[in-house]
Symmetry: C2
């Protein structure tokens, strides 16, 4: 990897340890460079068979060819194919051809990626700055470029184990009673759940870090009561600080000059949910420290999870824009010409109030060790630095504790301290399909803990779509059902009884896999490696390259979600040699069959999902419980297709146990007695492991790791 420096880049924080050596203003390997006064343009001639990967949270498929993309974080409610930007910017691409190359353009402003859109075989990158760092990789293995990028930008955020539990959200559960009722429904109905969310209505007048005491009396007791029942309460945090005399957050921020300013140096005003607000200037460490401390009121109550929203930052309108419209109206009124106002033009103007580029160009920030900067040039850092404020706070004060934190807006590097969710999707089958690609793409950018709103945020979800989405959700690290105000209720019991029963089975399946899923997460995060991978990450046959509706989870699973309405089956391509197929209806029913590689059409009625376990890999299941902390660590059900001689290693004693092989499902009995282990292995359908406080590893005859399962914390 080489660093190419152009001009004097702003510090983005994406790369903590920069290479000491860098090349200044030089051509980047195979890229043709064009430099203008305000921009740098990189051109690359794509070979017909080159695949372009990367860009993290973006529209389009896994192969990014044929489209345009713009890195400019945007609060965008309609994720239709014409959208060129979403909430996060991850200007990292991999050209997966005969000679794989990778580029990370560390610039947090607008970059336009034209990946064969204008001309089929031309990749053109237009960077709207001449002060940037570009990291360039060449490697025989494109996978090394990905892990190299994730490592360079600091690794992967680790959420707490409970954050792998099912989570229930709604805009809004507006008072304590509604939350309590939701919580008790889960327990009554025997549906596991670990978290309930508070959307914007928990606040007093949308003032961040306040609680409406009328709707949430005795908030501390309320949080504690939920915790006693195994629920984490997760409040939303928005950056805009309401302009209101006497409101402490506002007063402190104003007094200490913590807010972004306009060109004249006055605090910038932007309307969001609370009305007019100021935006904290998270580019300053003092502001981040202050902001991080503000979470402390919640943390003290026992709250361990937060979601940061609206931090692109979203702007409904600014006073400036509003004044312009009012002036126009007033002039027309003064001249008695109101009837000459062009209403279609006015419509257009008012529509463009939201998230206007002009507004972002009018905001100024004052980063540490730097001159004042126009926000537009560091726009994509805003949400990342907001999350950093939280992360720095808890790392300092709770170094041994894992918190749940995820953000809507993000920038390369923030994957080391926060997760993301994919924003305001809709209850559309297309968005279920998009979710599959997003999981892959965000994992390739290091956002292992991420996910979409299950069931879709906007629009009205019907039962079948919800169930298919929950099935995908079993393998989404962030597994949260969320829906918007004015849409159909999306809690699992809001449909018919069959839907309720199927959804219970799906979520219990998740919980039965959860310790293993989390264990895999820890494993892959520690390797700076995507947890959810495209098939071609591990498998090299040509067919895999174009498969974007299946994915690999961790070391062992291939997942093929059904994402079409009224479908009771789907086509599946299986690479390799053979797989163990689990047409899973519930965690208890683990009937499996061996299936050869190749193309298959497989039945998959609404109450089942298709899970494939790789040959000579194992998965571990545990009895599901109401919430994660209840899952008993002492019984494992291990399942897989073992066709080679293999051995088990238990790290507590490092001993290797007798080799075994079989084409059916394993049963392994491990009895613990002091530090002695008695292990019995049978080639039957279930595997029971009395197990505690150890690392369990299974190796094949060649000594390659087949499965690793660790005591989960």
């Amino acid at each position: 990897m080489k660093l190419y420096r152009f001009g004097k880049p702003v510090e983005t924080g994406a790369v903590l340890e920069k290479p000491l050596k860098f090349l200044q203003n030089e051509e980047i390997a195979t890229f043709k460079l064009k430099q203008t006064k305000d921009s740098l343009i990189l051109r690359y001639h794509l070979h017909k068979d080159d695949v372009v990967l990367g860009l993290g949270e973006q529209m389009g498929g896994v192969n990014k060819r044929g489209r345009k993309y713009i890195t400019y974080n945007t609060d965008i409610p309609e994720h239709t194919p014409d959208k060129l930007s979403l909430y996060g910017s991850h200007p990292f691409i991999i050209i997966k051809g005969r000679y794989p190359e990778g580029l990370f353009i560390d610039y947090p402003g607008e970059i336009i990626f034209d990946i064969g859109f204008t001309t089929k075989d031309i990749l053109e990158i237009t960077i709207t700055s001449t002060d940037i760092d570009v990291y360039h990789w060449q490697d025989v293995y494109w996978q090394n470029i990905i892990t190299g990028y994730i490592k360079l930008t600091g690794g992967v955020y680790i959420p707490p184990k409970w954050a792998f539990g099912y989570q229930q959200c709604r805009w809004s559960y507006p008072d304590a009673n509604s939350v309590t009722e939701i919580a008790s429904r889960f327990r009554q109905l025997g549906i596991p759940c670990d978290a309930i969310y508070l959307d914007i209505d928990y606040m007093q007048d949308y003032k961040v870090f306040t609680i409406n005491e009328e709707r949430f009396p005795d908030f501390d007791k309320f949080v504690k009561k939920l915790a006693d029942d195994g629920f984490h309460l997760i409040p939303i945090i928005d950056p805009g600080v309401k302009i209101e005399d006497g409101y402490p957050v506002y007063e402190e921020g104003k007094k200490n000059k913590y807010f972004c300013t306009d060109a004249k140096g006055d605090d910038f005003e932007a309307a969001v949910w609370p009305g007019l607000t100021h935006l904290p200037d998270f580019s300053k460490e003092a502001v981040r420290t202050w902001w991080g401390n503000l979470y402390e009121e919640f943390i003290k109550l026992g709250i361990e999870g937060f979601w940061n929203d609206m931090n692109e930052p979203a702007i409904f309108y600014t006073n400036y824009q509003k004044a312009e419209v009012y002036q126009k109206l007033q002039e027309a009124a003064a001249d008695n010409k109101i009837e000459e106002i062009d209403l279609i033009g006015l419509q257009w103007q008012i529509r463009n109030f939201h998230n206007s580029r002009e507004d972002y160009q009018s905001i100024f920030q004052h980063p540490d060790n730097s001159n004042s900067l126009c926000h537009d040039k560091i726009h994509n850092l805003y949400g990342a630095q907001m999350a950093l404020a939280f992360s720095d706070h808890v790392q300092k004060h709770y170094p041994d504790k894992r918190f749940l934190i995820f953000s809507r807006s993000s920038y390369s590097g923030s994957q080391r301290y926060a997760g993301i969710w994919y924003g305001d999707n809709k209850s559309w089958w297309q968005h279920l399909e998009m979710n599959i690609k997003m999981l892959i793409n965000c994992n390739l950018a290091g956002y292992l803990y991420s996910g979409a709103d299950i069931g879709g945020f906007g629009d009205n979800c019907q039962a079948e779509l919800l169930l298919r989405w929950l099935q995908l959700g079993v393998f989404s690290p962030l597994f949260r059902n969320h829906s918007a105000i004015h849409t159909r209720r999306q809690e699992l019991w809001e449909y018919d009884k069959e839907t309720l029963n199927i959804s219970r089975n799906i979520i219990r399946l998740r919980y039965s896999l959860l310790p293993w899923l989390y264990s895999q997460f820890l494993e892959f995060a520690s390797m700076n490696t995507p947890l959810i991978q495209p098939l071609f990450w591990q498998y090299r046959d040509d067919r895999c390259q174009q498969i974007e509706d299946e994915f690999i989870y961790g070391s062992s699973l291939l997942i093929a979600p059904v994402y079409q309405p009224n479908a009771t089956g789907r086509n599946v391509y299986l690479p390799g040699k053979k797989w163990l197929l689990w047409q899973a209806r519930s965690w208890e029913e683990r009937k499996m069959q061996v299936i050869p590689a190749g193309d298959h059409y497989l039945e998959c009625p609404l109450d089942r999902q298709l899970i494939f376990i790789a040959e000579n890999k194992l998965i571990a299941l545990q009895e599901p419980e109401d919430y994660v902390d209840q899952i008993k660590p002492d019984t494992l059900f291990i399942t897989g297709l073992v066709t080679e001689s293999a051995s088990i290693k238990v790290l507590a004693d490092q001993g290797k146990y007798p080799a075994f092989a079989g084409i059916a499902v394993l049963e392994i009995n491990v009895e613990r007695n002091g530090i002695d282990f008695k292990i019995t292995i049978k080639t039957v359908n279930r595997e029971l492991l009395q197990w505690q406080n150890l690392v369990f590893e299974l190796y094949n005859g060649q000594g390659n790791l087949m499965v690793k399962h660790r005591k989960l914390i």
Copy 2:
């Protein structure tokens, strides 16, 4: 089929010959009826395996279960999955279960179909009127219900043969020069093309039935010159008549009271492209006669094709709405309170200007033999009756001539006198996929001559998407490339050379198949049968039921379009026993292979498309030419997989010729000499038929028709 009558239905013209007997206010077979003051509600309990088909031009798939749909014709620029109405209303559904049933609710106002959306197994139809005719079918074969419906509503519109040619459109080719240039590019580049369109800018100030003489001097010569080069010029016709003194169409309409009125009886004003307009009241025969005659100016010049747009009717805003906003602004100005205007509220109000239900409820029409009616109650008839005006005119004055006419808005029954296109789609891969389902759904409603804008109307199209869409277009009866103002140019030469070459091959392939495609169209239209069918129309195995991304064209072809970006192949399911696979790159290269039924993944690089010829069915090809009329009728290339003994019948002499069989491609030589035919059949790769003015039929040993090919007019 039985007719159930409720109240006193308005005459819609959908059914020309009504059953003399009908049941009044009675329960409809298996449907539970609930009657309220203003509505009728029909409920039906769906069996788990029931499939619901129908509704013609609507969102969603071929199986309509799991969604809501509303029949209320709407000018809708974003075809996202949340949309409940499009441009046409075809309130006809088939419940394809063990005991197939069909319903046609002949009511041209709002009907809400909740097909298992609210509750998985409940079909609930809410009709916002108590005066309706409902036709109900029960039949062992659901296909009979479809042909029964098409027959009941008058059969199928037949376009001229040239309308199967490739057609080029753009909003806009604004002057004669740009049209001429487009035309000559087609001829220079050797790309067949039969029609070029004029979008709204050809008119003088958007006044319907005018021509801007500055941009189109000597319009008559211009039309003739194009015709000499084999191009039909197709002008757009909008219903709104600009309010402008001295403009003859306006003056005539006003004088004769031809326009829709408001509640007080004054001519209704609605703003569309020309500014404020009046809307002709097409429910009156006198208005239709007048309007039909207006086309005559164009027809006299040799124009033989028209597209009717904006006839839902689209309304940008009404004076009434505008006045309301102005009043609010003026009141605020008078009180010096402009700064208190809620701009977000104002935004919402102005946004709802377009196509507002309130406006439609304020329009009144005065049908023949009826009292004045609120337009809202007959809203869905507007575009259909506009097309009827044209159709009645040409049938009366040119009874032996076929004209091209298609409309954006439609209602059941209009399929007998006009085609439709699917409106303002976008250059999205999802809309290419939707095009497949739309072709099937609109064919099931009798709109055999229909199609989407190839390449997508809105948004920017890239080369790969255009090519894949053109490939689908080969089998779309209406084969028109159209794109919107401010989008990327979408003519075939606007991309790279490879794209141009591939698109030329695709369009030449269409022309080589064109006489056969048109012949099949005539055949299926005459049988009141969908030309483009879902696989389960002919094939009964369960798998076919869920396949919505393949279709059957006519009697012989299965088409499996590639509709995913960056794909060089796709999964295909083939029913039956075996097929002849043509991975078609050009019409000349007709290498084919036998492929068994079942699931296949098939290679399909960008320059190829997947065409399957059914066993013992044949297709006929002819040498493509620059335009349809040039195609020589004397040479046929006939291709198919013949595995049974078969015979040829030539209708000119009714004689049967010797049986033949073979698993390779046929070569048949027919030499004409007076009325004697010499026919040689070989099992080789090509088939040459010297052929003129006869019907050619091939029968299998059982006497079943395998292919029919007639002299095409």
